[in-house]
């Protein structure tokens, strides 16, 4: 029996570890599950999950080990900076890579032949939100609040372009990090500038603080708060409490409480099987981790265990049309082709209800505008 390596390197500790630890757990558990199911006959799956502490030097070392020493069939990445930094090496080594960062720059040429985003990019997520706003109110004034990092800044340019075309205005772009104990100034300025929509590209913590302050300042009714994938979910409602009410979130994943979806059933089953804490299993990042692992393993399965990069690339770019892969974690199937490096590009907008659960307010959809402002 031959052994094939799939390696993940991400932040189990350090910055963004709240997401990273669950993400890593998802990768690890899905792999064990796949092995137990003998998903790839004749192959022993060797899934390695390593903590790089959000430190790019560690990421590169892990990459070298996976790819250089263990001939990994796929590299599962995590951080924005780490992935961007690795692009030329990924290209050179022809390593199939699925980052945890949905930065569109990851799949922008050059050096992007082997990189595939599991779900739609931050840009597309945010533009979907802008489209929603534009549909609701022409000429609406929107403020962007982004994380002070490459991760946060990634979609800003695309969103600005899209807004112009959609006939809404981005009044302000603000960076807010994890230490925002008080957002009075920010919100008051938005208020006086007539902002009615605040779109966040951030992690849940800073967004929760903004929501709580907005509630205190009686702005929740007057401003609609929204955000991309890493802003929402359980984390947000836990932190913001009832201030999260009505928050609109865009993501491609199914929610934990959509128990009828096969992907969520699988998440619950696997999570229980490997005795994860409830918080982990409920976390959307756990699902995300399972998704990338499932894509890599599916590709390997389709190569019949041939983990070579040519075979893997063929398998992945073949996931299109009737050959699309649908593990059920996301609202749409995972489709890739030589031109299409985004997997589950359909997404939904969801809105938090009074109990803190996110309920879909749109069906699965794609952003029409995104393609226009960011042609490949």
């Amino acid at each position: 029996q031959k052994t094939v390596t799939i390696g993940w390197s991400g932040a189990i500790t350090g910055p963004t570890s709240d997401a990273g630890s669950n993400y890593g757990a998802g990768v690890e558990d899905y792999c064990k599950y796949a092995q137990a199911q003998n998903m790839v006959p004749g192959v022993k799956l060797n899934c390695v999950v390593r903590d790089d502490q959000y430190n790019n030097a560690n990421t590169q070392r892990n990459f070298e080990d996976y790819v250089g020493n263990q001939q990994a069939a796929a590299f599962l990445g995590y951080s924005t900076g780490g992935t961007l930094q690795l692009k030329s090496t990924i290209q050179e080594t022809k390593t199939l890579t699925f980052p945890g960062s949905y930065h569109i720059g990851n799949i922008d040429q050059p050096n992007a032949d082997y990189i595939f985003l599991p779900i739609s990019s931050y840009s597309e997520q945010l533009i979907s939100l802008v489209e929603w706003v534009a549909k609701k109110e022409r000429g609406a004034k929107i403020a962007l609040v982004v994380n002070p990092s490459p991760f946060g800044r990634a979609p800003v340019d695309d969103v600005k372009k899209a807004a112009t075309r959609l006939g809404v205005t981005i009044v302000d772009v603000q960076e807010v990090g994890g230490n925002n104990l008080d957002n009075t100034a920010l919100l008051k300025r938005f208020e006086s500038a007539g902002v009615k929509y605040v779109i966040n590209q951030n992690t849940a913590g800073p967004v929760a603080n903004i929501l709580k302050d907005a509630k205190r300042l009686n702005l929740l009714g007057r401003m609609q708060f929204m955000g991309a994938h890493y802003t929402g979910g359980e984390d947000l409602t836990r932190l913001a409490g009832d201030a999260a009410n009505n928050f609109i979130w865009s993501t491609s994943y199914y929610m934990y409480d959509e128990g009828d979806k096969p992907g969520i059933q699988l998440v619950k089953k696997v999570g229980a099987q490997y005795s994860r804490k409830p918080d982990t299993i409920r976390s959307v990042h756990y699902t995300s981790g399972m998704l990338v692992a499932s894509i890599a393993i599916e590709a390997l399965r389709r190569t019949k265990g041939d983990g070579s990069s040519a075979a893997m690339l063929k398998a992945v770019t073949g996931m299109t049309g009737s050959q699309a892969f649908n593990p059920g974690f996301t609202v749409g199937p995972v489709t890739f082709s030589a031109k299409d490096h985004v997997g589950a590009e359909t997404l939904r907008l969801l809105q938090a209800d009074a109990t803190g659960n996110f309920k879909a307010i749109t069906g699965p959809q794609r952003s029409a505008m995104f393609k226009l402002v960011h042609p490949n």
Partner: protein, 357 residues
């Protein structure tokens, strides 16, 4: 002169010039040559992943020598060394991508940029003492990170990729990446370490130490404390800048997170564990911290798989910060002079061997 230079019982010094030499005894000179040979062959002897760590250690060592110049020898506590590395890295990246300069020009330019910025940041040291200066360097670290994040020229901290390097027809590829850079970093490190050892034997080095020990007395000796402090900052951040330039190429792209506060802390830890104000310590410290991290990583990998602990308790992830912190604390408590002191004791032992007393 004894009949044979090799049978004499010691190297007798008959002039002050001889007293100045760094490698004085024949034993020292012989071991130096052996060491150099070993260093040349190292890439052939080491597994590739370890070689990567060796490269990291050498880059850190350059930065730590620089940190020692400001903090160890001159006593100016610097919590922003990673930012100076960052200055060098970004300067190198700009030189390489905007002006298409070759790496052997771009990296020294990084050093020069580090030195220039370092001198400016050092200006408050003319007035500030002790902790107040430490906090000023901390402020610089934070302002630097923020500034890069707001600078479109620097991709707002996103990746600036560096061109692939070619030397004597050999290209830097994934397969030879570590060995390739090993042979480039090693001579840089050796030269930089020797240059600093030279400074230490001269009035400039002594003046820095004097300023550290007692700046008023130093002034009474005709030393301009401000000059010495600025020189220290300039040299120290020159080294940091070179380290940053090397790191940029070694990582293939410059990303702001690589030059954050935690790296500054790590560099300080390396300097402390190695032994503040010691050149061998500047090598031993990075070695120790990197090795410790690798061991702990391996250990947490093992523990993580073992499911020994109740759900929700993540021993594996706690190990690295815990061991890093403990290493620093224990060293300071029980061996404040750092590994350099062990090194010294070991050398004394071998010098006297087989006579142990």
């Amino acid at each position: 002169m004894p009949a044979s230079r090799f049978t004499q019982t010691g190297n007798y010094r008959t002039g002050y010039r001889q007293d100045q030499t760094i490698f004085a005894t024949y034993a020292e000179q012989a071991s130096l040559i052996a060491l150099l040979l070993l260093l040349l062959l190292l890439p052939q002897l080491l597994p590739k992943t370890v070689l990567r760590d060796v490269n990291m250690i050498m880059i850190y060592a350059v930065a730590v020598i620089g940190l020692n110049i400001t903090t160890g020898y001159t006593g100016l506590i610097n919590i922003g060394q990673a930012a100076f590395m960052g200055v060098g890295a970004y300067a190198t990246a700009l030189a390489a991508t905007r002006w298409n300069l070759p790496f052997f020009v771009a990296i020294p330019l990084g050093g020069v940029a580090g030195a220039v910025v370092g001198t400016v940041v050092g200006l408050p040291s003319l007035r500030l003492k002790y902790l107040y200066l430490a906090v000023a360097t901390l402020a610089f670290q934070i302002i630097f990170e923020w500034g890069v994040g707001h600078s479109p020229l620097l991709e707002q901290g996103g990746a600036i990729s560096l061109p692939t390097v070619q030397v004597f027809g050999v290209r830097d590829t994934f397969l030879n990446h570590n060995a390739f850079w090993y042979y480039l970093i090693l001579p840089v490190l050796i030269v930089l370490a020797l240059l600093w050892r030279n400074v230490l034997r001269t009035r400039h080095g002594r003046a820095m130490i004097a300023v550290r020990d007692n700046d008023r007395a130093a002034a009474a000796m005709g030393i301009n404390p401000g000059n010495s402090k600025l020189t220290a900052f300039m040299l120290g951040s020159f080294y940091a800048g070179i380290a940053g330039g090397l790191f940029a190429y070694f990582q293939k792209a410059v990303v702001i997170e690589d030059y954050g506060l935690h790296i500054s802390v790590q560099l300080l830890a390396m300097a402390i564990v190695g032994g503040l104000g010691s050149v061998p310590g500047s090598f031993l410290g990075p070695m120790f911290i990197v090795a410790l991290d690798r061991i702990m990583e391996a250990l947490s990998q093992k523990l993580g798989g073992a499911n020994l602990f109740p759900a929700g308790v993540d021993v594996a992830t706690a190990l690295r910060p815990l061991s890093f912190g403990l290493a620093i604390v224990l060293f300071l408590m029980y061996e404040p002079r750092g590994l350099a002191n062990w090194w010294r004791l070991a050398r004394l032992y071998f010098k006297k061997w087989p006579f142990k007393f």
